[in-house]
Symmetry: D2
Subunit: 409 residues, 4 copies
């Protein structure tokens, strides 16, 4: 049989390598089962396929099975994305012996049920963000993860932007004290794919499936990233949200058809926040920033220095060292591609940049290490729950005339 799970008609490729010859120096396998195979599923697949090819891992990820409702489509996806088997029922996927990790890439309304079932079945879990559509669901998930942790299981939330080498470097520099006492955090996640009022009404625009709009999709990322980078948890928020276009054509409807539906989520969310250290923060999440495609931007200002990042230039980190003499100080552009930068020792020579998908390779790597070592993971379901509580506080503040709303501990 041929390489990479591909059938090898004509018996080609069988000569030099047999499993027996090779097993000894290989790490033991770790079977992955993935639910959902759309955009996120494709990205996760690339992560699982690649992590063991690049990093030295204590367990070797094996793409055991993928799950989706349409039998023919999931079969095609399995072959395309490199999964050995296809399932149409996520319960069957969880039940498979060759699945050690359940990777949940579905919309938020199904996260709680699948994740809890997987944890109860003794599986490790990776769950896409936001953890859930409600605080209640997230609480149940965190409780399940806590219980499973006692059994040696790992449950991680897919805040993949922690795995950009530049953001991981920023975290390291903050932890090392390079920016000192924090004063300001300035975060925005700007996209523009809803600017056109005739963009269709997809599941992401319906509260029942997505939970919220830009807030949950983009806001969840920047809340987590801000908390990760600062090492602090948001104390409270004051928020505004808005839905600019309240009715859109039904997705899949006839082109030019009159059928339209209500947008039931926010198009944009802005909020200010306080951190326990006394720092002030501002957040903005929107899909209406014309020309900004994936501009997740974060800047931290501290007494000793500042850091700035923009996901549209993800191989770069800006750093200002305020302890230097002013005459030669300035924001420097660190090209985060050196061997001693996070994740980089396994990749290419300096200056040969990585892309978006590598965050999923790194996420896979980190999850495998967490499983093998029994520590972590970061971010845990408890971290995901806390992000959910911030999201809820944002919605509560927005509903109450922006009044400052404390985030429960």
């Amino acid at each position: 049989m041929g390489p990479k799970g591909q059938p090898d008609p004509a018996g080609r490729g069988s000569a030099a390598a047999t499993p027996e010859q090779r097993t000894e120096h290989l790490a033991p396998p770790l079977g992955i089962g993935m639910v959902g195979y759309a955009f996120m599923g494709a990205a996760h697949s690339q992560g699982w396929r690649t992590a063991g090819r690049v990093f030295d891992l204590p367990r070797r990820p094996v793409l055991s099975a993928v799950c989706g409702r349409d039998p023919a489509a999931v079969r095609v996806a399995a072959d395309r994305l490199g999964w050995a088997a296809a399932e149409t029922d996520w319960r069957a996927l969880i039940a498979r012996d060759d699945v050690d990790v359940v990777d949940i890439c579905t919309p938020g309304d199904s996260h709680a049920e699948i994740a809890i079932a997987a944890l109860e079945a003794g599986k490790h879990v990776l769950c896409e963000k936001p953890l859930a559509n409600t605080v209640e669901e997230a609480e149940a998930m965190a409780a399940a993860a806590e219980a499973a942790r006692a059994r040696g299981q790992v449950a991680m939330v897919g805040f993949n932007y922690r795995r950009v080498p530049a953001t991981a470097l920023a975290r390291r520099m903050v932890a090392e004290g390079r920016i000192g006492t924090l004063r300001h955090v300035r975060v925005a996640y700007l996209q523009d794919w809803l600017v056109d009022p005739d963009a269709p009404l997809t599941w992401r625009l319906r509260k029942e499936s997505a939970g919220s709009g830009a807030l949950g999709d983009l806001g969840a990322h920047i809340i987590d990233l801000a908390q990760y980078l600062t090492g602090e948890r948001i104390s409270g928020v004051s928020a505004l949200t808005e839905t600019f276009v309240r009715e859109r054509p039904l997705a899949g409807g006839p082109s030019g058809g009159a059928a339209r539906g209500q947008v039931t989520v926010d198009d944009a969310a802005l909020f200010t926040a306080r951190l326990p250290s006394g720092a002030l923060a501002s957040f903005e999440a929107t899909r209406f920033a014309s020309g900004r495609k994936n501009a997740l931007r974060i800047e931290l200002n501290g007494e000793l220095g500042s850091l700035a990042f923009d996901l549209e230039r993800l191989n770069e980190l800006s750093f200002h060292d305020h302890t230097e003499p002013g005459v030669s100080a300035g924001f420097r552009r660190i090209l985060v591609t050196e061997p001693d930068h996070p994740y980089l020792d396994a990749w290419w020579p300096p200056g040969h940049g990585l892309g978006y998908e590598h965050t999923f390779v790194h996420q896979a790597r980190d999850l495998v290490h967490a499983i093998a070592s029994g520590t972590g993971p970061d971010p845990s379901f408890a971290d995901g729950l806390q992000v959910q509580r911030v999201l809820a506080a944002v919605e509560e503040s927005a509903a109450k005339n922006s009044v400052y709303t404390t985030v429960p501990a």
Copy 2:
């Protein structure tokens, strides 16, 4: 007597040019009297000295007299900055026959008294921003300006950042409809001169002299600029303010001395806002953003395009045309140095940039035109009053748990 108030001992320079020979093609003079000669006074002087050398003006600015309390110091300043006479009492300055325009460059607590007296004396007035330290003062000033307007007098507030060619171009493009329906305004004014906790307690850090801190100093600029660029007035705000360092060494105290005083103004102010069009806005003003020296940044996102500006690169305007095919669309960097850009026909060839001080040259130019034409000016004292009302709403919201606070019309 020599050129520009300089004595000409050897009688040199008297040969070829007599007033008689030259008067006919010269515009009639416009006498300027300036109160205050510190940083702002130096900048205004540069504006008055230069405007008539570069632009064709209907009236020719003459630097008649400058006023300050210390007789020796104001005399030196007059010679240095090019003012023909020096005064030590602003009432005497206003009373001078050779003063047509009173230019007020003092701290905010004296603006109202001087401006109202000057207007009542029949003078035109240019007043530095913020217009006043309180809404009440600003209302009195606006009323005085309104009364004076009926007598043909002009009263302008010194929001000089409207006079950067790039911001003026942005306003023109918004007015032409280049960005369409507005969705977002994102504004920050970031400086870092208070990061050091031992920076001294100057008048700018005392409520009685400065009115407020970053809010009035930087926030006033960005409120005015945002309203100018959008052509809209802020409906309401939700705000946070903070004083990070509450005690500082007294200015002028003995070095290393123990004498410290209370900082009675904000170090930073953040607020979100709504505009009548339905657009959302965010504002941040701070002097604690390490490494950001004068980063006034504004971005507007509309349905048809976006505009972005950063004062640290003041010769540039970023523009994204969302009506272009996506395949070749992107934020373009317009170098705002072409002859058909605002103010540029009088300056240097393309690519030969201007600086900060040119905003004062342009302000002088625009004020002279407003006086000659009897129209305008922009921004008027009424505009300054409205900014003051936004500032007051910010402080009120900050004092009331960030609750959304409407700005009175």
Copy 3:
């Protein structure tokens, strides 16, 4: 047996998917055999592993075997990189039935022998750049490729920087006439890994293995890219070369040992050139540009517009449209991540950037299409030969006091 060519000791993963179930909708396999598995080998492996997972391909790449001299090391590399078999003799690799394409990732001194043997054995060939170490070798290779082409075989040179979406877009825009008559080409490839005079003397610094230094390694890339983007071939050159550090520690020698060897290649090469259209070009290749990690920069200026690219920001292309009114013209930053950009329809949503390694995925994709369609490939061995002739003209000019030296047609 488990997915992805990985043995599955515990028999896991065997359930749902058998080759029989899946074969019908899969494209027929295309067996790849790779010689060399260092930096380039790892990059090519990533390309071969991924191309069929992302793109719809007429043939399905199968990583049949990899070849290296050290049996244990090549075995480990095979497992790590995902190759089914390992060989220690490149002649054996060529002879394998399951190898349809021979991918040559060795130093330049072995390219000619391997490539010609592979072509004579009826295999398709992908050969890393520069095509060879001498014009004579390159001529023999081009002749072999020409002969093989008549037999339906494809021979491509690995100028992977043609496969950056941004450079491919630039080529498309030039071909569409967006920049008009060409006036200037400005190209540099700047790295800095030899700045330290104690960096070791590797094979890349010895003429017998590498052929030349920065010239062949970096210069070959920018010559090809300039010719590709302009659609023109360099007419003649005037060159300077220099070896700044003429002696270095022997690689692998004892740390701090006194053993040093001669650097026999150039550290930097600069040349000016003329193109048939009358345009002027400048080229610079160096490994001594401190702080520049992988700065391949190219700018084209034409009568109707300009294009600029920097490999350190490989998801971006700068474009100036000179036909626009000057008032709103400027270099725009096209984020080359839209679905209608080259290669992008198969990848992630807008703004989710790619990295260096994707050039190898795209190269694999393009080679598979060339093989399946029997057209192309671009760049052919003839193209590689022509680059070799430019390199030779550069060396000749440098040896003759920089005199302008014509490149043979």
Copy 4:
């Protein structure tokens, strides 16, 4: 008589200040006489008017007289630009008692005659660049300057780009050893005002008036700047020049008229060079780089660091410190607006940028100091002569098939 050449009808402004009151603390005057009042004349006027208003100078510049051939036009220019008197014969200007410095802002073909006459008349001289149109003229000028120097006179060439704070800072950092042994200099001066083939045939496109084209106009600047920043003189060059558009409409001809004339200068010049230290350099000067308005760019790479500058962002200097750990190294953007940056202590607070014209203010400042101190000036006529020799070597190499051509010492 009114301030700065302005008549003061009605006796206004006469009250408080008499020369007697003020003379004591003023520096003694330094009379300036300027020849030519077009673009360069306006820029120099701004420099002379402003220098003494901003800097503490040992002599006080007085704008005594300006000279031009058209009596009415020069009279208007005098009033506009602030010159007390107008002359129509440069010999008369030189003869004036109130002229201590002759400032030559005419095309290059008249530089030698005027400068030599002024020096022989005992005047200090500031001469616009390039110093002359031929090496012979430049030699005569340098000889005259040398003779005059013995009499205490100063003769400076107007290479104003040495006076950008960022370039002056770069020079300081190079001199301090911040970049170590130099390896590369990369310089380009890119403009685009001749891209349109119907741009008119001005004096700048005629060899008899301008000497050369882009080479003398732009190339002279970058040769001087490269030599200034490195502290080295170019050893030899290898050059290509080209005239892309050989015929253009006569300036001032009827619009759409058929009258065209020959362009007799280069449109672009490219050359490579060697420096005595062993460093390699590349130069490009062109007026055909669409979208590049005034892009004078220079980058220096040394063993310890790199510096980069772009005149289109003249308040910034990029610096890479190669002695820092790679993990946090990168090109930093120094905003050259701090008080301890060159020239900046006299200007505005940090972040409040300067513009193009300030180079002329600084040039005036530096010339006044040179005159008062009897040292310098930099750049001297000898420096200007050396640049002229490089220009001549470029033309010689271009005429001889680009052969490497030594620059005479």
